[in-house]
Symmetry: C2
Subunit: 430 residues, 2 copies
């Protein structure tokens, strides 16, 4: 795997009103931070950053704040083109290296795949970029035959991500010595570099404010994987929470989002003393907000074990307090309290059994089992929300709700125990 990366940041960002593009935030992080972080997580240790005279200071200061090995090279003549900018890295790389544009945004999956490739990384299914503006590539025998913006009959698009060896500088030198303005496309075309396809994953270049907003939106959306989500979450909650995350990702941290949704959850449980339907509505809203911390964390590359832990523990308190206050204001009799206890216990055990599974097997339960049984948190809360809306019909609505929650959750736990036991016994007998 490449150990060095060359990042080109000598462009002027004219269409952005001269802002320093690599330092603009997408998904809560500077574009160059995203690229460096994803490359580092995948084995790149050294960064050669080529800047111009104007943006040198802010970029150098930003790199200083990161704990990385880097070199800054100034291009005194950015008007000579990005091919010339690239050529300035000539004597600073050894062995396989990555070349990447400082104003391109990539998702993690893209970087992982691209690093395994060779030459020019191309996308045959570019879903996120403006095709008119994109650099197209015509491929012949696995190598770049033509590279340019105005090609017809191209088969793929240049992603601005390259995995190269220092031989490329020989080709670059010839061109740089013979003409004034040199583009990367020319160098790649002359060198007939190999082409590797990485198709359909999120990446885009950011040239305008509009594209910046678009990148921000996609970074948040692409960070959502859906693994382990329940039905309500997938088809309702996420559609709303992702939109909120797009707005908040550059404004709050994941842990702040955790605390906000916790406080809204606590508020909803207290509202049971005022109005059960209102409490139900706020509870459902807290359930939607509960997705935001994870979305922001993934989008801004800030996921942490601690954040996941804290979110889970606080969720348990919210669920407990809501069912408790709902039961209390409903003036239950002894048997109904028993049902309420089963509902509270079952709700917690749904999470306990799967979390304990990860603690025991060091694997995710939902990765190991295709488990379709209802009763996940988003589904429970939506059910509670619906029943709360109809609480004006009488106490029986709440009692039925508690019976339903008690049944669904405890049956789900029983089903969990059964599937785990079955797999264990099969394993033992095989």
């Amino acid at each position: 795997m490449p150990k060095t990366a060359v990042i080109l940041c000598a462009g002027y960002g004219t269409r952005m009103g001269g802002k320093v593009k690599p330092l603009m935030k997408v998904g809560g992080r500077e574009i160059i931070y995203r690229t460096i972080k994803l490359l580092r997580d995948n084995g790149v240790e050294r960064f050669i950053v080529i800047v111009n005279r104007e943006n040198r200071k802010p970029i150098e200061e930003f790199l200083k704040s990161l704990n990385i090995e880097y070199e800054v090279v100034v291009n005194p003549n950015p008007e000579r083109g990005n091919g010339y900018t690239f050529y300035l890295a000539k004597d600073r790389v050894y062995g396989r290296f990555v070349l990447v544009m400082g104003d391109h945004v990539y998702c993690e999956d893209f970087v992982k795949e691209a690093l395994k490739g060779e030459g020019l990384i191309c996308d045959r299914n570019p879903r996120f970029v403006d095709l008119d503006e994109a650099t197209k590539v015509i491929v012949e025998n696995g190598r770049a035959k033509r590279v340019g913006k105005k090609l017809e009959r191209f088969c793929c698009v240049d992603t601005g991500f390259f995995v190269l060896t220092p031989e490329i500088f020989g080709v670059a030198e010839n061109i740089v010595e013979s003409k004034e303005v040199v583009s990367l496309s020319e160098i790649m075309e002359k060198a007939r570099v190999k082409v590797t396809f990485v198709d359909g994953l999120f990446w885009m270049d950011v040239d305008t404010e509009e594209e910046l907003r678009k990148a921000n939106r996609f970074v948040v959306r692409c960070s959502y994987k859906g693994k382990g989500d329940g039905f309500v979450s997938r088809y309702l909650n996420r559609r709303i929470s992702l939109r909120i995350s797009e707005i908040l990702v550059n404004r709050i941290t994941p842990n702040q989002a955790t605390i906000i949704s916790f406080l809204v959850g606590i508020l909803s449980s207290l509202l049971n003393f005022v109005s059960i339907p209102l409490a139900g509505v706020i509870y459902q809203i807290s359930s939607i907000l509960d997705g935001i911390d994870g979305e922001i964390a993934r989008a801004s590359l800030r996921t942490s074990n601690f954040g996941g832990w804290l979110d889970s523990v606080l969720d348990r308190y919210v669920d407990f307090l809501f069912l408790l206050t709902l039961s209390f204001v409903s003036k239950l009799n002894d048997l109904e309290w028993v049902v309420a206890c089963f509902a509270i216990f079952g709700s917690l055990m749904v999470s306990y059994t799967t979390e304990r599974y990860r603690g025991a097997f060091f694997r995710d339960f939902y990765q190991d089992f295709d488990f379709k049984f209802p009763g996940k948190r988003d589904e429970r809360i939506f059910l509670i929300f619906l029943f709360c809306l109809f609480s004006f019909l009488g106490k029986f609505v709440i009692v039925y709700l508690l019976i339903l929650i008690a049944l669904v959750t405890n049956l789900r736990v029983l089903a969990t125990i059964l599937v785990v036991c079955r797999r264990y016994l099969l394993l033992k007998n095989s």
Copy 2:
């Protein structure tokens, strides 16, 4: 690390009435199984087992039932001594190898340490063997000077565990060719093998029925580490459960023990309808029994992720049902039910927070934190047991108990959240 082990099993077990010693069970497992399993877990891949004509068949059949690479060598003249038996492995080992006695029992820690050593592994603090019967060693300049049963002024004892190189067979050959009866001690003395000390860990040889019982007892006791145990468990429950495990370890599996303690726990919660003090006593007994599955699992080298998971999940049901039935028969009012719910929730959350910690950080909470706050399961159950004994004084006893459990458990959870948050914030700021 050595890849091959030579196991000597050509002795006649005369003091055992001719029983095949390597196949006798200690801690629920055949002695030779224990040795092979511990060696395999630590990198040994190939086993040369030297038997006599009489025990060849049962030992060979047993080895066949294991999924290992092995060779069986028959010693036609066991009366020529264990030095001669060892010599028969001559052309079958290459590179560093382990030599170990088929009637010796070792704990896991011993095997791990011994495998890092060289030559004769000796114990300067033999706590588990009969010194009169032991083979003593006099060490000079790190090598064995004298090896024998009748030495005075010895500094350590031969553990029957050796890490050798094939050169030793040259020395053995000279002796075997010159005399009829050859002991291992003679060979080691002549070769002046290096000595490595592994002191005070459990190992012993088994020559008599009495020693077999003793080995069984120690294997169970040494498998108990105390990590994560609460106060009551350490000073009361374990003292009883270990004695029971010593008896049961050769009779039931860990999962059977889990089910038994679960059923006793469920029984105790049902007994609340008959007599609260009796229920409390049985609940405390189930708490003692709850230690047995883990003790048997560790002693019989049968620990499994599944067993740990199942035990945890079933414990949660027992705790829930006991508090629920106790609350129900106590005819609580609404506010008291709220307290009962807090007690039920808190009891479960004590476990949830630490289990979720392991799921998030892939580390044990009690390894990361020296957490002395009371409220672990053994302590809670003991408290419930005490209060139940005094339930005849009136309902207030149970209400006070519920308040106490609710407070202790929820405060413990709060303390858990605080210590984890503090460490995370410190880590972030460092």
